[in-house]
Symmetry: C2
Subunit: 598 residues, 2 copies
Amino acid sequence: MKSTLLSRRDVDFLLYEWLQVDALTKRQRYAEHSRETFDAVLDLCEQLATRYFAPHNKKSDANEPTFDGEKVTVIGEVKEALDAFAEADLIGMAMDEQFGGTQLPAAVAQAGFAYFSAANVSTTGYLMLTMANANLLAKFGTPEQIEAFVKPMLAGRFTGTMALSEAQAGSSLADITTRAEPQDDGTYRLFGSKMWISGAEHELTDNIVNLVLAKIPGGPQGTKGISLLIVPKYLVNDDGSVGERNDVALAGLNHKMGQRGITNTVLNFGEGKFTPGGRAGAVGYLVGEPHRGIAYMFTMMNEARMGVGMGAVSLGYTGYLKSLQYARERPQGRLVTAKDPATPQIPIIEHPDVKRMLLAQKAYVEGGLALGLYCAKLVDLQHSAESENEHDAATLLLDILTPVAKSWPSQWCLEANNLAIQVFGGYGYTREYDVEQHYRDNRLNPIHEGTHGIQSLDLLGRKVTQRGGASLAALAEAISSTVDTATATGGETATLATQLDASWRRLASVTTAMFDSGDVEAAMANSVVYLEAFGHIVLAWIWLEQILAADGHAGDFYDGKRQAARYFFRYELPRTAPQLDLLESLDRTALEMRDGWF
Amino acid sequence: MKSTLLSRRDVDFLLYEWLQVDALTKRQRYAEHSRETFDAVLDLCEQLATRYFAPHNKKSDANEPTFDGEKVTVIGEVKEALDAFAEADLIGMAMDEQFGGTQLPAAVAQAGFAYFSAANVSTTGYLMLTMANANLLAKFGTPEQIEAFVKPMLAGRFTGTMALSEAQAGSSLADITTRAEPQDDGTYRLFGSKMWISGAEHELTDNIVNLVLAKIPGGPQGTKGISLLIVPKYLVNDDGSVGERNDVALAGLNHKMGQRGITNTVLNFGEGKFTPGGRAGAVGYLVGEPHRGIAYMFTMMNEARMGVGMGAVSLGYTGYLKSLQYARERPQGRLVTAKDPATPQIPIIEHPDVKRMLLAQKAYVEGGLALGLYCAKLVDLQHSAESENEHDAATLLLDILTPVAKSWPSQWCLEANNLAIQVFGGYGYTREYDVEQHYRDNRLNPIHEGTHGIQSLDLLGRKVTQRGGASLAALAEAISSTVDTATATGGETATLATQLDASWRRLASVTTAMFDSGDVEAAMANSVVYLEAFGHIVLAWIWLEQILAADGHAGDFYDGKRQAARYFFRYELPRTAPQLDLLESLDRTALEMRDGWF
């Protein structure tokens, strides 16, 4: 039976036929690898995801973690899955060999990881946070911190979290109040409370490594005065063993619409439940320099944002494959042109509207996966760049694509899940089937790691203009190069290229008009509309790239790619025209709405 | 504290300032009523909904009905709520006085009922089904059937269901296999199984009146051979008391994403669990004539479809009001033009993107409510028509608006709930707040009582062309009349009228082109796109109607209406342009997609 997690055929197409990820092995960083090791990792990921992660997905949704005031209980299958992942040495799959990692290209690692997210996004969440945490500490931590915290995380003995938000601050990190008081021995003592911290309390591993944003008294106001500290659940002894309990205490669990299998916590630091070393406060260790926490965290956050995008893709993808399978097997009704009730019912995949819903899902999830892997390859080009210029070129593109790679799948692969429910009809609405859970799980993605609105401010207020518009110019150049190739290809591909070129030029001229207006308030008021139009145009480019990679190849798989691209250009890209008109008009409808008028 | 169920100010505006429902009291049917009795009913509905329905909404979501193999247990608050509703004589609020009803206009009854749906759509579901069932039997049942079943339903002693779907048939009613075998005494014995039957098993009332579609052996194939039968859970004795158990047995409960408080069942008829009168089969009583069941059911179904639309509106509306309240109370962040972290945080309602999300919700839910009440008033004009022509005029409009009144709120008031979650951010994703449940509850609406796709086939394949296009012409005339008035009003209203007129004309010409093409297959393949474009244009008309009603009135409420209308014309109506282009091109992308290409 075919896997309903991801299509391996599509993964292979994207990695090898399109992105030519195997060519990365010519670079020093990836020289130990080969297409064979990549394939072996992908095989392993699919097998482990299928065997250890998928089977308890519904169970952990129905049996979310419970807190008895002392301990948190999580169903046993979660630990088995995490252990299997760690034992397969996958936690460090993309990390440097010097830290015990496998140094795989991010593109391969992300594709492999997507199988786990598709199988069970909650259990996978513990891993995603641990991997991001370990990556950050490997980059900015001291050798001692790496020894004490990173290595046990890679071995699966510890898990990690990222603790940014506070109840009163949410998206506004400038307003956090958790404080870190310096001690004579160079450590810190933390006091405060954090909200929405996933994976921050459980008994799945020996220890939990919290990376916490806090303010060191006397520092600058706002985000410039925020530091990053390691605040483990248990202190770690010099020999690496787990020691005294730190004063990190669970105030309570949040109960979510989806992603119910991973704990989401309110966490109190230094409230006095424990007194490590006989003194008040949670012990913390500064990462890097004081007041630079936001910069460090954003390294992790960018990775986390791309991870969120890939998580959204994975859920969209598995929902698509499940609804596809259902549509093939479920007989119901007849074609409008053949209504005779004496004839047998047809599988619903033959109904044009069902095909439309499947095709839309295909366009969203394969497009989203392609975008995610494209961005992952940019990370690889950064990591293996042989010159400053090469590094910079990848960084410029990655910077402007990150808000899209986070927000676009969070919106459209969620919509794919919505369509998957619709294909299943009443069955899709029941918990006896998977797709309603995928929808609920996926609904988190436009909220966490920077909401949809925050992504739009990042794109329009920062990325588009940064370094004199250099990121935007880099993207323009990449798109233009694709358009040129497609135009030279001729035929239908050239027609699509013309359409993309026109959309991109219109976007560029609208962008210029918005900034030239000098009316920042009006320009920023519709930043979400901008993000959404921008995202759809980027995805049209990604689809054109894919059909170029399919060019000259015959067969169902390639015909499917071409049809999905047609769908995207005919049904989706045209949505951007009225959005761009609205943006160009610097519409003030939302801006001028008054509280009292609601 | 202001109610967060519906805005009474808005209800009053729609009913009295716009629809002038009080003028209905000049008609014979409603002569016993007055604005005062209407207001008293609305007050009562809001009070009962707030007191008996809203408080257990979350509890019944968290504690869904359970089945121990013998009995179904539902939390006690459900019965208290149903009893309170029945004791207030609301079950028959829109029914004829001759059956013990209050004979209120449907517009008033629907507005009142919306408070209950907003408060608790699951508990209200038992009532909605009972009321629709009673209405159908009052219309087509014999005096004995009315005595035995309708009167106890109005008194709250019995509840009702509608049992159409079967596991193998779903939306394709032609393929049901439940059979009704005629008996010598004029009754029938039923054998078969029904799926998705809401409210069909519980101990909340003395009896459950199932209206069941079945085939009488020897009848025509397809939908023309379907009959409608009353199949009660318990037989009713001649004195009206509840007698022997009928062979209607619960096979199991479905477990849904939302609307968890109302039982949803697989129901077996005549499987032999019970043997009424010592013989096999579930006893059924034919309603009306044999083989006319679909026609009877569709009377109930049209009402049910409008009811689904109003339910979707109610959930959208309460989510909007809750997210509005939250946005006013929640401080977070600062304006892009005033980023100094030393200044206090502002309520999030001041952020333009939050205003945009609230304004979109306002446009969707107030627009949806207006459409629902407009349709309800058409029902009143039918019921109180003083000539055949008058009746026909209302019917033509109602026919073509019904698929829109069902599908548009099911799509856009669901989207309103999606935006409400986004306004709440992380909190909105938790079950500690209400909005995620509203989303889950609302997600059923594009599926049941005819899916989104079925509505689109009904609109494009039936309603648009019926009686030589008379329904479409009636709508064109209604819109044209609004456009004329708005044009005469001048100013901004006239500008919006021009925009609506252009959209409508474009829709009309695209419709003509689609039918003139003779390519039925391609025309029907994008019926959902047609439904969605059609719906948005209808809603633009409804918004223009509202600002005409607000014309000349000053003050926050009216300014809010005008701003929401602006939002709709600037952000929403333009979405239809690319949809209409696609339709005009008779796009075959979905149609030509092949199974093997997925």
